[in-house]
Symmetry: C2
Subunit: 374 residues, 2 copies
């Protein structure tokens, strides 16, 4: 188009997010704007909320797209539900559990960490033991840990938290749209996700949901939420029936989100989840002969994000050099390791639009070419 001077070839985005965006979503983002108080836009915002409720498995009234990325959603959940001095138990099975500790600590919470070895899930009984010992105000953990590719079973930890009288916050950044999420069945009080993973939207929105126990906790706070921007009481006054202006809603991004949620519902959740499962299976099988081994045991593996340890041939030439060749020669982005796993693993995302066997085959062919050339 006029003015866009970059000649970058299209990318196949197989890192930990963003994923590629469906043309219908891109087209929706390019629609002319409506005002954020226009009845036609408010109807669309209501539609987004309805569709997000179905996807999150909840009847929570306050289920909205926050005007921030997934990390902003994390901060919104923790900043509303924690006050300085509150005790929190946080499950740490990777970088994003770690980030929850950091965010909660900055809010002034007293954080008890329960750690898992990288590549493994949290131990239910260790979480239950910490909850019984600390009697925290809040328990937080990650459903799909994007830094390791580990799936965390939710029900037992959530049950232990509720039995201990704690609120439960769940990170659904990478799971939502690629794995079943059932906030109400599990007893989750607040959850957040991100648009650019299995929903295949551009980054910049964090779908989030707050249940009645969470909102009661906010009403009972002894001081206002530190963050005015993320204060759910103010957000509820806009996204609810009062329509009181808070900040200007991110109109174009919400256009895109609604279109992406339509695509999800047209496909149907069971079909979509099965598509993610099959793509991951094909990836693991195809990588084995090349010497890439899954970091995570079969029962704990995420479908939408596969972490693999690297064959000697890749480590020898420098894993980042090979990732750069995949990008430059084949237009394919895969992710490196984060934190202690940097340089040791790759993270290969097959999220949303990209969870397809043809996509897997394109990556495998490119890897074959590069590794036989090297």
């Amino acid at each position: 188009m006029a003015g866009m001077t970059t000649s970058t070839a299209p990318r196949l985005l197989l890192g930990p997010g963003p994923s590629n965006v469906h043309p219908r979503v891109l087209a929706a983002m390019a629609r002319p704007l409506l005002g954020h108080l226009d009845p036609a836009f408010l109807a669309l915002a209501d539609d987004a909320q309805d569709r997000l409720r179905r996807l999150f498995g909840t009847v929570n009234a306050l289920t909205i797209p926050l005007a921030a990325t997934g990390s902003g959603g994390m901060e919104a959940c923790l900043a509303n539900l924690l006050e300085p001095g509150d005790a929190a138990v946080v499950g740490v099975a990777g970088v994003f559990g770690e980030r929850m500790c950091e965010v909660a600590t900055r809010i002034g919470a007293r954080v008890t960490r329960v750690e898992a070895e990288p590549g493994t899930a949290l131990d239910d009984s260790a979480m239950a033991e910490a909850i019984a010992r600390v009697r925290p105000r809040l328990v937080a953990f990650v459903h799909a840990e994007t830094s390791t590719g580990v799936l965390q079973p939710v029900a037992q930890i959530a049950a232990a938290a509720r039995a201990g009288g704690a609120l439960v916050v769940l990170d659904c950044v990478t799971s939502l749209g690629g794995l079943p999420v059932s906030l109400d069945t599990w007893g989750i009080d607040a959850a957040y996700s991100a648009a650019q993973k299995c929903l295949s939207c551009p980054p910049g929105l964090s779908p989030a949901s707050f249940g009645p126990r969470a909102l009661a906790r906010v009403r009972e706070r002894s001081r206002p939420v530190q963050s005015w921007y993320f204060d759910v009481s103010l957000l509820a006054a806009y996204y609810g029936t009062e329509r009181i202006y808070h900040h200007t809603a991110p109109i174009s991004a919400i256009y895109g989100l609604v279109e992406a949620l339509r695509l999800v519902e047209e496909e149907g959740l069971p079909t979509r989840f099965e598509r993610h499962r099959r793509a991951a299976e094909r990836l693991v099988a195809g990588l084995a002969p090349l010497g890439f081994s899954p970091l995570v045991a079969p029962g704990s593996r995420l479908p939408m994000l596969t972490s693999v340890t690297l064959p000697e041939a890749v480590r020898a030439q420098g894993e980042s050099a090979l990732r750069r060749r995949l990008l430059d020669r084949h237009g394919i982005e895969v992710g490196g390791g984060l934190g202690t796993l940097a340089g040791r693993i790759w993270r290969i995302g097959l999220m949303g639009e990209n969870a397809r066997e043809a996509v897997v085959d394109r990556l495998l062919a490119a890897l074959h070419t590069e590794l036989s050339a090297g």
Copy 2:
């Protein structure tokens, strides 16, 4: 397009923002995604920073698009530069000065307010007196107050603040791109804007700039910034040379911003500012025979946002009913009053793409039709 079922007619957005978006910007938003660590995207993010520096009138290295709306930019500036117990002097000439007080108070600052009558600018000497008396850590005020349409002269208040050893934070939400902004000449330490006003982008990005004294203050903090999401040290590590992942940058929105900044530079700032001035002049002249009077005295009037008191004929039929008819019958959105001015004024925005005489004439014609029909 497929799937978009709404049949809403295009809107002419003449409220306090968002404004209408140029087709080139909409087309840029619809480009396929690059990853947030892709060298091609990082080059585009650097380009955005260069263009924002020129527009803000600054050489500040950390001049970036925050992944939030303008209110998020306000929170980012205040949360980084204030610690609990710090004294702040805030100029309050409307809702957005009020919001600064609220945000600073939640951070734990001791806020001294200096107020102006609605529709008037802050009094330099009252600000200087408060600064001399309180000796604050920080002085904050609004360049273009979106709730009243008042232009605030910046230089003298900023000079008084710096003479008193305070950091200066300036809200440029509505001014940037429609009025000259010269952070370095004025001596501003941190400033924020919003994409959906005179830059004519969709809402969801807050261009912001942090100078060396602001960053030194952040380094000297006794405790971490309460907000992990808005912590400028972490943002600097991504947008600077280190390229350390913080949150996922809002890729599509940055595509749109860069295209909008190209449009600004192709037009040239003097031409653009003059276009805003001429459009406002035509609006005020055209509204007078209809009985709408400017709220603000000529020397303090904003060009991009004109607030007008309402003629008896409009008050009698209900001002919101008339705004609704403008929207439903003519596709034109104008803004109502906020706060104490609700029901008493309209706010008519001629921002960015909409600051054109033909746009003014379209609004005036619609008003003539409705008021002669009523």
